[in-house]
């Protein structure tokens, strides 16, 4: 009896602490993006801004299959649109390119290069700021087969680890350190992080499926701070793991729900944002946390829902300006511009 009382008290105090994260007031521009009449966003999986404030949206638009080939081939399925900072539509990037199947994230590096991570094609594509193709990481399976193996679907190493190299199996996110080295979260099957140099040459991989230190259950998002520390959103384990630049475990941050996507702001004082996104089959949770890099929670804002200032499975956050965020939503098919008033 006494023991259960203690447990109840512990749970109570825990939930009180949880509730004490202060609410950050914010506004939302929900109709920021103006699309031409014949264009629509699907699931807004990825959103990112460049140094000019242009907004890039990587969205799922539906695929086509090819019948009558030696196998069933699937092509298309996602598109990348660029808007100016006022939301005016500028142009499409990578129209019809081979590696756009199932949009996962788009990020812009410090030189304004545009990087897409595609969970269907298993390919990361680097474009320059004008949209010219520069480089790929990984290879698109020749045919996306049932059971997610064979037909070129990569990563057939030790289960949950993948082979050494950039043969991804449903990658989720990309980040860079100050030297330009590349970090890719290779999530769904391999549960690992891959580090490559800026030319795309493989350096190392770490992680496997599990709940221990340095193990992952769906590393769904990744970010790197100015010191080169690597933050991994370990979604299934409901924690953010922090590694040094070589992949050595440093610490883990918790108490922010299941981190669906994370973002680290640039500048002298860096902040870490993490979204406890509602899964697509629920409308629970959904709040976004603002933290110091050491995990101290500064505040939270938002909740799951379909109205303005509510979120439908936030899949990516852009935080180039720490008080002006862009959130791409899966189930609400939109991008919200969020202005925080901390």
């Amino acid at each position: 009896m006494q023991r259960s009382l203690y447990v109840s008290l512990a749970l109570l105090s825990g939930s009180l602490l949880f509730a004490q994260a202060p609410e950050i007031p914010f506004d939302s521009a929900v109709t920021l993006l103006k699309l031409p009449a014949n264009l629509h966003l699907g699931e807004a999986a990825g959103v990112a801004t460049n140094s000019k404030g242009n907004i890039l949206v990587y969205t799922r638009t539906g695929e086509d299959g090819t019948m009558g080939g030696s196998r069933f081939f699937t092509h298309g399925g996602s598109r990348l649109f660029e808007f100016d900072s006022t939301g005016r539509y500028l142009h499409e990037v990578g129209a019809g390119i081979y590696g756009f199947m199932f949009a996962q994230t788009v990020r812009v590096d410090s030189q304004d290069n545009i990087w897409t991570v595609d969970r269907g094609a298993d390919v990361v594509i680097k474009f320059d700021s004008a949209g010219h193709f520069l480089m790929t990481l990984g290879r698109k399976p020749e045919s996306v087969n049932p059971a997610g193996s064979g037909g070129g679907r990569g990563g057939r190493g030790v289960p949950g680890q993948g082979i050494a190299g950039d043969n991804f199996n449903r990658p989720t996110d990309i980040a860079w350190d100050a030297a330009g080295d590349i970090f890719v979260s290779d999530a769904y099957t391999n549960a690992r992080i891959v580090k490559l140099d800026k030319s795309g040459k493989f350096i190392k991989t770490w992680g496997s499926r599990g709940a221990g230190q340095g193990q992952f259950d769906m590393p769904n998002s990744i970010a790197v701070d100015a010191q080169g520390n690597v933050y991994v959103a370990d979604l299934g384990n409901k924690r953010i793991q922090v590694f040094d630049n070589d992949g050595n475990f440093k610490t883990q941050l918790g108490d922010v729900g299941a981190p669906w996507t994370i973002c680290i702001t640039p500048g002298a004082h860096q902040y870490l944002y993490s979204s406890n996104s509602n899964p697509p089959d629920s409308m629970d949770n959904g709040e976004i946390y603002k933290m110091e890099l050491d995990g101290k929670i500064l505040g939270k804002f938002g909740t799951a829902g379909k109205l303005a200032k509510e979120f439908g499975t936030v899949n990516e956050i852009d935080c180039r300006n720490p008080n002006v965020l862009y959130a791409g939503e899966l189930t609400n098919w939109r991008v919200q511009k969020l202005t925080l008033h901390p």
Binding site: N38, E43, G62, F102, D281, M283, K306, T331
Partner: protein, 335 residues
């Protein structure tokens, strides 16, 4: 006419498909020829959904090479395509227009309900299109989930609203239930499971809501209409009008319930004499009359899939097998 003379040549399947109600008065009607004017190189596929808005514009949701949604004016002139290339357009099932002229598409392939504002932009979605790579990787075949949850559909079929704007979804081929959401898409209640008891469904294929919030569900394979109150509590069964492929409740002070005992999409010719008619009923199930029959001529119905009954004497109907929309003028007083 003696009963044996009517049934002598019917196969067992035809006998089973025939509505129980017999000797129902016929309502005179005609079909308006040359209704929809298409631009060159634009065609309807299966005429899955049809609906009108308050201006009389006609929306047609069709299965072509891609599922597409077209808008025509009240004279049948082509206006535009809505949702071109949309992620949620996979396999059309129904289109309805609410009291604010928002357009709602129900997509059986994407497992989604998509709400467009009158300008044709997406303003809300319900359900979620399955992720293709995950679907390909899944080992168990798709089917009804043990607990379908609050926000995921399995081949949904129709949508309706009560006066407060609450949303009702028939879900559908996979889940055998009806789900109620508030106007902002937040889950309120669900009713139903697979079966033939009252409150169970065997393919809830269509639904409509009256002014009091009663929900009429076309429980197609159970060959009955089930009525629920606004909280989804079971109220009544109407089982004498065949298999309700489509139900529609007209607006206005005196509401009517239309139900189609459609000629099935299996094209079994032995059923053509016992299906294809549409019943007009009072909301309590009393049959007022019937009209129509299976066939491919103008004024005949070839797998009727949706009815618009904004005006109870001017119906728009869409058909599966014959890729068209018809406008039907009824003359209930014999005029």
């Amino acid at each position: 006419m003696p009963l044996f003379a009517q049934t002598a040549n019917l196969t067992p399947a035809a006998l089973a498909s025939r509505a129980k109600a017999q000797n129902v008065p016929e309502i005179p009607y005609e079909s308006v020829p040359n209704l929809l004017k298409f631009p060159a190189n634009l065609y309807l596929g299966e005429g899955i959904g049809v609906a009108t808005n308050s201006k009389g514009h006609v929306f047609v949701y069709t299965r072509s090479q891609r599922t597409r949604l077209f808008e025509f004016d009240q004279k049948g002139n082509y206006l535009r395509e809505i949702g071109e290339g949309l992620y949620g357009f996979v396999f059309a099932h129904a289109v309805r227009v609410d009291s604010q002229d928002n357009i709602w598409a129900v997509d059986e392939g994407a497992n989604m309900i998509i709400k467009f504002n009158p300008e044709g932009r997406v303003v809300m979605t319900l359900g979620r299109r399955p992720e293709p790579t995950d679907a390909l990787a899944a080992s168990p075949p798709p089917g009804p989930a043990a607990n379908p949850g609050k926000y995921i559909f399995d081949r949904p079929t129709d949508v309706g609203w009560d006066a407060a704007g609450n949303i009702f979804v028939s879900d559908g081929y996979g889940n055998s239930r009806v789900v109620k959401y508030d106007k902002n898409g937040r889950f309120i209640a669900t009713v139903g499971s697979k079966g033939s008891e009252p409150g169970q469904f065997n393919l809830p294929h269509t639904l409509a809501v009256d002014a009091k919030g009663n929900v009429y569900v076309g429980d197609r394979s159970n060959r009955r209409i089930q009525v629920f109150d606004d909280d989804l509590t079971f109220k009544a069964i109407y089982d004498n009008v065949g298999a309700p492929w489509e139900v529609c409740v007209s607006p206005g002070p005196h509401q009517y319930l239309f139900s189609s005992n459609s000629f099935p999409d299996g094209n079994d010719s032995t059923l053509s004499t016992v299906t294809g008619e549409i019943y007009k009923m009072e909301l309590d199930g009393t049959i007022v009359g019937k009209f129509g029959k299976a066939g491919k001529q103008l004024g005949e119905f070839s797998g009727l899939h949706e009815i618009d009954c904004r005006n109870p004497d001017e119906l728009y109907i869409s058909e599966i097998q014959l890729w068209r929309v018809q406008k039907i003028n009824l003359h209930p007083n014999g005029k």
